[in-house]
Symmetry: C2
C-alpha cells in the first residue's frame, strides 16, 4: 500500500493550523524539518502545505531559508477586532508621556492575559511582555484587574486550579488571592510587587464599556521605585476613564480587544 499508514481523521484545515500553530514567541522561525516535527506532520506533507502557504505569503523565508510568519498574516491580524486598541493607543502614549514608564493594554483570553498593545521608551527595559504574548492572570497587574471583575463562577474555577508561581512573591493561596481581588474591585485598581518578575512592580486598572470590563491598562516599573507606584495610580485611572468614555460614545458594535 502506497499511502501506508496515514493519519486519518485530521482535516487539511487542521493540518494547516498545526503548521501555523507551530510558530510561537519562542520559535518565531523554523526550518522545514523543525516545523514538521513541531506540527506532528510528515515531512512531505509539511513541505507541500508550506509551499502553498508561502505562495500566499502566509509564510515567508528568513534570509537563512528558515520559515517564519509572513506579512500577509500580519496584515490579516490587523483586521482582528481592534477598535479598542486603536482608540486606546493615544491614551497609552499620553500615560507613557506623563509617567515615562512602560504602559500595557491587555485583554483576557481564556485563563490568561493577552497583551494587545504596549508603549515603552527606547532605553533597554527588561522585556516582560511583548505585544501578542500571554501570561497567567494572578501574578500580573492587568490580570488581577481583569480577574477581579469576572463573575464569581469564573473566579472560583480560576482559583480552583493549580496556580503557577513564577516568583516567591506570587500570591497563589486561594483565600488570600480572593481577598486581594475583592480589594482590587473595591478600590478600582490593582498593584503587584514582584509577583510575576523579580525587580518589577506594577499598577493596573480595568477599562469598562457599558458596565462590562473589556480590557485593562497597566504600568510597570522597576521595584526599586515601588514607592512611586501610588503616584501613578491617578494618571492611570484618568487614562482608563478616558478610554472608557471614548469607547462608550461611538456607535457601539464589536468591541473586542
Amino acid at each position: 500500500m502506497a499511502g501506508g499508514s496515514r493519519q486519518p481523521g485530521r482535516s487539511v484545515t487542521s493540518k494547516v493550523l498545526s503548521i501555523l500553530g507551530a510558530f510561537d514567541a519562542a520559535h518565531p522561525q523554523l526550518s522545514l524539518t523543525d516545523l514538521a516535527r513541531r506540527s506532528g506532520l510528515p515531512l512531505s506533507t509539511t513541505h507541500r502545505l508550506v509551499g502553498e502557504l508561502e505562495r500566499w505569503q502566509a509564510l515567508s523565508r528568513a534570509p537563512d531559508g528558515r520559515l517564519r510568519v509572513g506579512l500577509r498574516l500580519w496584515e490579516l491580524g490587523q483586521l482582528a477586532p481592534g477598535r479598542m486598541r486603536e482608540l486606546a493607543h493615544p491614551w497609552l502614549q499620553e500615560l507613557f508621556g506623563t509617567t515615562g514608564e512602560n504602559v500595557h493594554l491587555a485583554v483576557r483570553d481564556g485563563l490568561e492575559v493577552l497583551y494587545v498593545d504596549k508603549v515603552h521608551g527606547r532605553h533597554a527595559v527588561p522585556i516582560v511582555s511583548r505585544t501578542g504574548s500571554r501570561l497567567p492572570m494572578h501574578p500580573t497587574g492587568v490580570g488581577k484587574a481583569l480577574l477581579a471583575h469576572e463573575p464569581d463562577w469564573f473566579v472560583k474555577s480560576y482559583l480552583a486550579r493549580k496556580l503557577e508561581r513564577p516568583t516567591a512573591h506570587t500570591i497563589t493561596e486561594p483565600g488570600r488571592l480572593a481577598r486581594e481581588l475583592a480589594a482590587v474591585r473595591a478600590q478600582g485598581y490593582a498593584l503587584t510587587y514582584e509577583e510575576m518578575t523579580l525587580g518589577s512592580c506594577s499598577a493596573a486598572a480595568p477599562i469598562l464599556v457599558d458596565g462590562r470590563v473589556v480590557a485593562a491598562l497597566g504600568v510597570v516599573l522597576s521595584s526599586r521605585r515601588a514607592r512611586e507606584l501610588t503616584r501613578l495610580v491617578e494618571p492611570l485611572l484618568s487614562a482608563t476613564a478616558g478610554i472608557s468614555r471614548a469607547c462608550a460614545s461611538p456607535p457601539a458594535s464589536g468591541y473586542g480587544p
Copy 2:
C-alpha cells in the same frame, strides 16, 4: 452524482486562504453568505471550513453573529518579522513627541506601501492610513522615499504602468515623477503636497540597514501648515538615522518590516 460538478484543482489550503483573504479593511466582518460570495466557494464548503477556523479562533464572531478575523490570527501576526517595527517604535514616539504630528512607518510590499506602524494624537485627525493598510507608492511620502531607492529596473517598470491619480496634485507623468525621485534620492527625503489626500502634506525619509532601504518613516500634517513641513525634516532625518543605527548594531538576521 452526489458531488455534482465540483471545482477541481483547488486545494483545501487555497480555499482556506480564499476565506481569510475575503476579509479586508473595507470588509472586516462578513456574514457567512457574504463570505461564501466573496471567496467564491459554495456555501456548504464555506460553512464547514469556517467551523474549523472558528474552533481554532482563527475566526471569531461579532456580537451580531458576523464573522471576523480572530484573536489567534492577530497573535500569529505579531510573530511576523517585526524586529524593525519593535526597534523603530520608540523613535516614532519621540518624533511624535517633538512634532506632535502623525508619524508612520511603512515598507514596500509589491508595488504598494504597507503601513506597519503609526503614532498619532488622540484628537480627530483625518485617518489616511491605518496600520496594515496599503497605498500606491507615487502619491505618498513614504512611497516616494522607498521607490527612489529601488533599482532602476524596478522604478522603470513601476512608471510604465498606468498610475492612479487620487487627487489633482498627484504626479503621474513618468518624466516628472522620475525627476522627482532623483531629487528625493539626492536630498535624502521626500515631500508631498496633497498628492494622496487633499488637505494633507507630508515628509518622509528612508531607513537604511547595511546600505539597503528596508522601510521609510513619514510625518503627515494638514496642508494649511505646509510651510512648517521643512522644519520637520531635521527631526525626521535624525529619527531615521537613529533607527538605522539601532538596526545595524545587533546580530543581523531577519529584518523585515
